[in-house]
Symmetry: C2
Subunit: 425 residues, 2 copies
Amino acid sequence: MYECSLDRMKDKIKTFSAFGDAGHGGITRYSLSEEAIMARNEFRRRMEAIGADIEIDDLANMYATIPGSEPDAKRIVMGSHCDSVKNGGNYDGILGVMAAMEVLETVVENGIEHKHPLTAMIWTNEEGSLYPPAMMCSGIVCYDYLPEDIRDKFKYDDMMKSKSVLDNSITFGEILKKSGFAGERRFRLDPKRYECMFETHIEQGPILEDVGCDIGVVDCVLGMFNYRLKFYGQTTHAGTFPMAKRKDALLAAAKALCYIHEEIDKLGYSDLVYTTGEIVCHPCVHTCVPDYIDFSFDARHENPEVLEKVLEIVKSCACKEWCGCRCEVEKAWNRDTVYWNKELVGYVKEAAAESEIPHMYIHSGAGHDAQFCAYMLPTTMIFVQSKNGLSHCEQEYSSPEHCTEGATVMLNAVLKADQRGSGYE
Amino acid sequence: MYECSLDRMKDKIKTFSAFGDAGHGGITRYSLSEEAIMARNEFRRRMEAIGADIEIDDLANMYATIPGSEPDAKRIVMGSHCDSVKNGGNYDGILGVMAAMEVLETVVENGIEHKHPLTAMIWTNEEGSLYPPAMMCSGIVCYDYLPEDIRDKFKYDDMMKSKSVLDNSITFGEILKKSGFAGERRFRLDPKRYECMFETHIEQGPILEDVGCDIGVVDCVLGMFNYRLKFYGQTTHAGTFPMAKRKDALLAAAKALCYIHEEIDKLGYSDLVYTTGEIVCHPCVHTCVPDYIDFSFDARHENPEVLEKVLEIVKSCACKEWCGCRCEVEKAWNRDTVYWNKELVGYVKEAAAESEIPHMYIHSGAGHDAQFCAYMLPTTMIFVQSKNGLSHCEQEYSSPEHCTEGATVMLNAVLKADQRGSGYE
């Protein structure tokens, strides 16, 4: 069992946390921004320092590779993203990049033998904060391998035209060109040159901390669906229109939301998560009764039958009438549960056990680049405990010790894959 | 009893509806916009055509006056505003201007004798659609007469700095100067030169239509209060955070809104109106649990004791905890019920009865410039039936017949005030 370096991990956390430091504990580091380019240059500098070879594909995905003892062996890749949401934390994404660097650094420093070349990687624009959608570049790279309904959302030409949410005169294609990080298409991640993929990531939830485990052995990314519920009422003046004749779309939406929660909670699935995070109100003036409300509904669970029951409840809203308002239920998108490669999951479990690091099996509720890779390559993920389960906010925190443990588990799991393969022929 | 001209009213409605015509039945005519200036020039043209003298004060309020037989008599003023909300209708505000013009035109055409000079008026920026607040210029003109807590919101210097909601680099003061309609302060409406004030307006509610009355004899503007309810939760990732540990501010707000409605409805006041028209959500992303919701709460009733009971319910939310979220209840503003001058209300009632126009007493639930005038001058209002009670939308409609009846009632009520005074010494 090898161990990664706590001191080197601390140094990396400190260094990368400065790129986009928003001044109150977190970062804003949009993909291909000046701050993200500082992080990319730091990655290049550190990887070149250990003799890694740098490749950049046409989507600015970066690959730093050290050779293995068998020249024809395919590469084993580890990585994540270096972009953040607005006012995000210092761990989401970048931890997976730092852990991958740490694995390569440990291998080189200790002269650890390995047959396969090992690659540390940065995915471009995972968050999609400025240029939607999220997981844009893994979507493009894995395009040919994705299920058809997912694939349709990641057409290269469409992605290049994705407009900045802050300034719709700028497209992703333009910013990619301007960044100086658009390389060659032949360098894209590809099953012909790559053996398998590992991604270390913070849990972004409180489960590991609650159970007292440092590391999560991730077995799948939960299936999910996303719907919009739309309520159509009638706008009238707040002062002149009797209550009995109103069609108040906001009150209708509030009643529907309470109804949905009551009904779903009756199903009694403690491992189900569902969320209404976005609400749109029209005309949204304090002196007018709202005539239109539109809210999101997101539900996630491993078992498609559970999701089906939840969806029945959501769809039943369209047959109801709250406050005289019509309700429409519209599908936005869904995805099936993606299971990680069993051999790789087993290597992660073994590696954690052998290093005596407290660990447990866990599902991923969030989407990650790894889940698109899983359609193309044997893939798995390692979760690191998140303090209070907070993420996508500046309070996001994982201790340097836990981060280093994540790298250690990945290192030893990678060495197992190097020896025993990924069971994928 | 005199009668105004249906044909002339139809012609005015058609003409003014073109200024800001948004192409689907309504208008967008922000105060002092190009479209509003077209309406102002049309007002000037028509009023000069009957020999009226035009004055414009420093706030661009316009006054068209025809002389009376007693040179020293104070003026009787009628008017409303010519600006609209975004995608508003063809009647809110402008009907009161058209009715005032119609009164002057009828008086001149028929050589109707009157002692007092008669003035038709346009108030600037009643809606406050681009430059808040609403009723800005009546607030400034009546400033010295307003109750202190209302007055504080209408300081001249602050108003001049009011920024456009569409482009915060432009202020009301600048647009006023650029409009070419900033005249002289000495022309402002003032109790030294003006006897009393009438405003004709659409009802903006369904009561007159439901009861089968063409005209509302308005007796008061309802007292009201405006509060904000704020809910503080914790944002987390929609996919990774167990339901039991969440602090979902949107669900908390939905439950609070349902609670407020249930409790207030139990009070059983059918003439009470209350509204949540505005909701703010943070971060408002479909993959994040909202950590902050803020919604408006507006309640209106003639009786302050009723409002007090409603306020108790609203304030009780601050002692509750929904979904683990803290709730704050903050006062935005309130106003007492404003009763119109009894003599003037009586004249309106008599005028409607003598012309055999179906009419009823009614409260105004909405705010109007007239309500600020009421602190300074004897004032009253006349309501015209609104189809389906709709207003602040393109479906807003009042028939030309009802609009003309509104002008006829105002004409005859003004002639009574001309003869018998406004009981105000």
